[in-house]
Amino acid sequence: MELVVSIGIGVLVGSGVWLLLRPRTFQVVIGLCLLSYAVNLFIFSTGGLRSGAAAILAPGEAGSLAQYADPVPQALVLTAIVIGFATTALLLVLLLAARGLTGTDHVDGRERGR
C-alpha cells in the first residue's frame, strides 16, 4: 500500500510542480492545490498507513497504537487542510485583483518580453 500512496504523492507533486512553473495565474493556483493535496497525503502517511483502524475509541477506553491508527498526523493534516484552503482562497482573490489591475493573467503582471 505504501508504494501506491507514495507513487500517488509523487504524481501529484510532479503535476503540481509542473503547473506551478507555468506562467498563467490559474495554472499556478491549480498547481498549488495539487501540491497541497500531495503534502496533506504525505503528512497523513508519516504515521503509517492502516486500514479500518480509525482512532475513535470505545467509550471509557484508553487506546493504544496496537488497535488504532496514529491520530497525530491526522490532526496535523486537518490544520494543514484548513490553512491551505484559506490561502488558496486568498491567492485566488489576489490573482483576480492582479488581473484587474494589470490587465493580464500572467504571474508577473505583464506579458513576457513586454
Binding site: L32, L35, V39, I43, S45, T87, A97, V107
Partner: protein, 536 residues
Amino acid sequence: MTGWMNHLVMAPIVVPMLAGSLMILAGDRWRGLAVALGLVSTLALVVLAVTMLAVADEPVVRIYRLGDWPTLFGIVLVLDRLSALMLVLAAVLGLSAFVFSLARWHRAGAHFHPLFQFQLMGLNGAFLTGDLFNLFVFFEVMLAASYGMALHGSGTARVRAGLHYIVINLLASLLFLIGVSAVYGIAGTLNIADLAMRMRDIAAGDRAVLEAGLAVLGIAFLVKAAMWPLGFWLPGTYSAASAPAAAILSILSKVGVYAILRVWLLLFGAEAGASAGFGGGWLLVGGLLTIAFGSVAVLATQNLSRLAGASVLVSSGTLLAAIGAGQVSVTGGALFYLASSVLAIGAFFLLIELVERGREVGADVLAVTREAFGAGAEEDEADAHEEVGVAIPGTVAILGSAFMACAVLLAGLPPLSGFLAKFAILAPLLGHGDAGLPAANWALLAALVLSGLATVIALLRAGIEVFWASPAAKAPRVGLVEIAPVGLLLALCVALTVGAGPVMGYMQATAQSLHAPQDYLGAVTGAPARAPRGGE
C-alpha cells in the same frame, strides 16, 4: 513565578488575539475604538516584552504548558533570552508602525487594525513556541497577516508584488509541512527540545531521511530569511508595501533567521551526535552570497524603498553568514546586529514615506483604484487624500538628520549601533592568533566591509538626490505621529550604541545558551508532569 506572573509568557499572544478579535466586532465603522484598542494593545506588548526581557535574563528558561498538558505531550511556550529579545523587537517595531499608521494609513483599506494585531500575534507566537508544528501555525498566522499588510492599500504594484510573495510563501509553507511531518514520521515528536534530545539516538538508516526532512525545512526557513537565491521576492514586496506595513514586514524576514537560530542550533549542536554542525557551511556560503547580492541590489536601484528592501537582504545575509560561522561569540555579535538592523530598517521604511512625500511621488501613494464599476468611491476612500500633518519647522532638517542616521545605521558606519554591530560580529570572528585567517573569515570581513561601502554609495546617491538636489523642495507635511515613531526607533539605536556593553552582555549570554542549550532542554524536557484533574 507563581500566580499571574505565571501567565506572563502567554500574554504577548493573548493580548493581540483579544484586541484583534474585538476590532473585528467593532468593524471599520467604529475606527476610534479600534485605534484605542490598538494603542492599548501595542503599548501593553511593549511593556510585557520589556518585562519578559528582564525576566528572561537569567539562566532559568521559563516554559508555559498550554492546556496544562505535560511538556512533551502538549504544546509548550518557551521563554528564553532569544525569544524575549525577539519579542521586544517585534513590540517596539509594532508600536512604531502602529502609531505611524494612525496618521493616515490605517484608513487606506479595510480591516487594517485587526490584521495588524494578528501580525503581532503571529510574530509573538512564532517567537515563543517550542513546538515545531505550532511554529508552522504561527508562521501561517504571521504570513496571512503579512499578506494583508503587504497588500494594504491595494494598487497595481502591491498586488503584483503580493502575488509573488504569496505564491512563494505558499510553496515555502508546503516545504515547511513536508519537513515537519518527516520529523514526526522519523523521530516521533514535534517538540523541538525533545527532538534535539532524540537526535543523537536516531538510527543510522533513518538519519538520512530525518536530515533530508530537516534540510527541506531549512529551505523553507531560508526562503523566509531571503537567502540568495531564494529571496528575490523580498525587495519587490517590501518596496511595494505601505510604509507601516513595510516596517513591520522588515522583522518578518528575521523570523526566518530566528527559526534557523533556534532550530538549527538546538538540533545540530554538539549534542546531535552524527548530525552536529549539519549544513553550517551552506549557511555561511549562502549568507555571503546573500550579502553580495544584496549589496549589488542596493547599488542597482535609485528607488529608496527598493533600496531598503535590498538592505534587508544584506542584513539577512550577514546574519546567516554569522550564524553559519558557528561560534558562540560571533552569534552574540549577530544578535546585536539583528537588533540594530531590525530597528534601523524599520525606521528607514517609515522614513522613506515621509521623505518621498515631499517629492510629489506621494501622489500615487495610496494607489486608490479607479472605480471601474462607476459605482462611486467606497466610503473609506473619501478621506484618504486629506493632507496629513502640518509643516513643522525644520521638517526637512529633521528628516535629513533621520535619513542620515538611517544611512549610517544601514551602512554600518559610526556613530550609531550599525557600526558596533558589525564590529561585534567581526571582532570575535577574527579573534586573536598567531596564524593567518581562514578564507571564510576573510570573506565575511570583506563582505561586511564592501556591503557597507555599497550602502554608503547608494544611500549617498539617493540622499543627495532627495535632500540636496531637488530644487527648493517644498517641505513635506509630516505629522508628529509620523516622525515620532522614526525618532523612537532611532533613539533605540542610540541607546544600543550607548548601552552597548550591557546589551552585548545580554546577547553573549543569549548566544551562549543557544550554543549550549542545556538550560533550554532541561526546562522543556524535564518539566513537572501534569497533575491529575478533570471530570468524574
